[in-house]
Assembly symmetry: C2
Homo-oligomer: 348 residues x 2
């Protein structure tokens, strides 16, 4: 049957350059629009032969379902928002990479949102995403427990590095490895150790310091707390100066960004690493392995954290698979020893 150039009411093919709609497909295959919808989504709901016809028509017209219309009528957007505090930070890039990969594999779109380290922007973004996304992944949330719990009742939510009862979360277990770092330094003979802290509002920072402090007490050494420092390389200068001034021979740093900045500053000041001072970073970001000296750091599976978060979120969004969605996932970390740590300087 060749298509007659019908001058009838509404042309069923995309005469204009406009993309084909479900109605075009319906017209071409001689069924109702609803049937097309069912054929394409509910496999068993439509006759085998009919479906074949419809699929052929869809292919011919290069039909691509309109995401907006789909979202409006179904309530599902097939999009997930990933909120990061600061897109400038390489740490988040690894997370984004992980979420992107996993979301794409599941056919979801990633909405990247920068909350600019602001609690307010974060809250607004979540509110906004309520309608725009099927779920949200919060990396290093600044929100209060109450606010988070409330948000979690409104939509699927997964946090990374933020633990709140009742909210699924992915935790990078850095405290454990930070304690390893402490042991590492102690075994190298260090006794004056400092912790160079990150933002006061950072949950990871608090957890890490508490674990470190407790571990230090256990081992009978004292750990000095310095900071807070902004999680940027340039803050490393201040951190380095503070460390030198404190008299400690080793520093455990909130993250690699600051640690790398410290390395540069120490070098500029003529302080040798690790001969004069040892430095331990955290995260093992891009660059930690090739800075000078290569950074001893706590390696965390950051990208994997992003992937796991997506998996948990999706199982929350589509609870079909019988398996109960995991509520929590703790990812192990480990200490990677490179060149920035060494034996404590012998007091001359």
């Amino acid at each position: 049957m060749s298509a007659p150039p019908s001058t009838s009411s509404s042309g069923f093919n995309a005469a204009a350059g406009k993309p084909a709609t479900i109605h075009d497909v319906a017209a071409l295959s001689g069924v109702a629009a609803s049937t097309v919808s069912r054929a394409l989504s509910t496999p068993g709901r439509v006759n085998f032969r009919t479906r074949a016809r419809i699929e052929a028509a869809a292919a011919e017209l290069k039909y691509i379902p309109n995401a907006q219309a789909k979202a409006l009528s179904s309530g599902r957007t097939k999009a997930v928002a990933v909120l990061v505090a600061d897109i400038t930070n390489p740490f988040y890039f690894d997370i984004i990479r992980g979420t992107q990969l996993q979301l794409k594999a599941a056919g979801y779109t990633q909405l990247l949102v920068d909350t600019e380290e602001s609690e307010e922007v974060e809250a607004n973004s979540i509110e906004q995403m309520l309608q725009t996304a099927d779920g949200v992944i919060l990396t290093a949330s600044r929100l209060s427990e109450e606010a988070l719990t409330l948000s979690a009742t409104k939509m699927p939510l997964v946090t990374i590095n933020r633990q709140v009862t009742g909210i699924p979360s992915v935790i990078l277990d850095t405290p454990t490895a930070t304690n390893q770092a402490l042991d590492h330094l102690i075994s190298l003979g260090h006794s004056q150790i400092a912790y160079l802290g990150g933002p006061a509002s950072s949950n990871s920072n608090i957890r890490r310091w508490e674990a470190l402090n407790a571990a230090a007490k256990e081992r009978g050494v004292e750990v000095l707390k310095l900071g807070p420092f902004a999680p940027r390389t340039y803050a490393g200068a201040a951190a380095a100066d503070a460390l030198v001034h404190s008299g400690a021979t080793a520093g455990i740093v909130f993250n690699d960004l600051i640690a790398i900045g410290m390395l540069q500053r120490l070098q500029a000041r003529g302080v040798r690493v690790p001969q004069d001072i040892s430095i331990v970073g955290c995260d093992d970001i891009f660059g930690a392995d090739f800075c000078s000296p290569p950074l001893t750091t706590v390696t965390a599976p950051v990208e994997q954290a992003g992937r796991v978060a997506v998996t948990m979120l999706l199982s929350q969004i589509n609870p079909t698979l019988g398996t109960l969605p995991r509520q929590q996932s703790v990812l192990p970390t480990h200490l990677t020893i490179r060149g920035s740590t060494g034996p404590a300087a012998v007091p001359s």
Copy 2:
């Protein structure tokens, strides 16, 4: 007036936990839904007092317009897709950062898409985005000129580092600075110079090599072409070996990723940089300043490229402002000299 607990037809307030709609706002302020729509979008179209009432009602109900519905009826999604070839590459992160910042400032959402270095995935993604986004930014497109031109007729498009007549583009003028790099090396006494190329399908790679080759001829030196190498640090090992084997005393490398990988490999092999071999990178990515030795490289305003691309795209999407949208924007780059280049080794 206190709100009576009316049992009338449809409750106008969000009795359930559902977000308020335009109808709720309309009911609460006693006007039609269309009036609410106009009050909120077309400022002068609605009476001052009425608008105030509506805005108050909207605020009270915490009304947030539904993005999907808006998109469906208006045809505009307020979203822009940014296609990157490989989200793993730090280079793209700088672009993403730039686009994110600028898009957010304009109230647009960024849809991040990884095309996995595949022409097909890229083509599909564009097709998909036709309905989902108001415009697309293509970073380092792999598509043919015809395909690009065709796509550009269907929706607003801006390319980065890809020049096709008729399509607005942002070009990072690396060739010019690469030639500076050549002069730099020549002035240091190098005469055996190699270009370590990137992916054969990369447009930047081709442009850069052509410029370099032409410049070399002008200056009467010979530049050897090696590669292609994948734009990854691990490819640096092969690149380094190839460079050493070639006998050249200096290498101009496709990008910093490879260059940094080379630095590591050369160090492992005991080849000193810059004493034995000089290396020039490209892009000045995160890490180029603190690797060992710090990398001499072509600094490109990558983040700015992202921002400019967004600006150009938006002026294409909203041609209101009278000014003609710029068709092309060439961003200057410069050579940043650090520690990886030095005088040519005197043949012993």
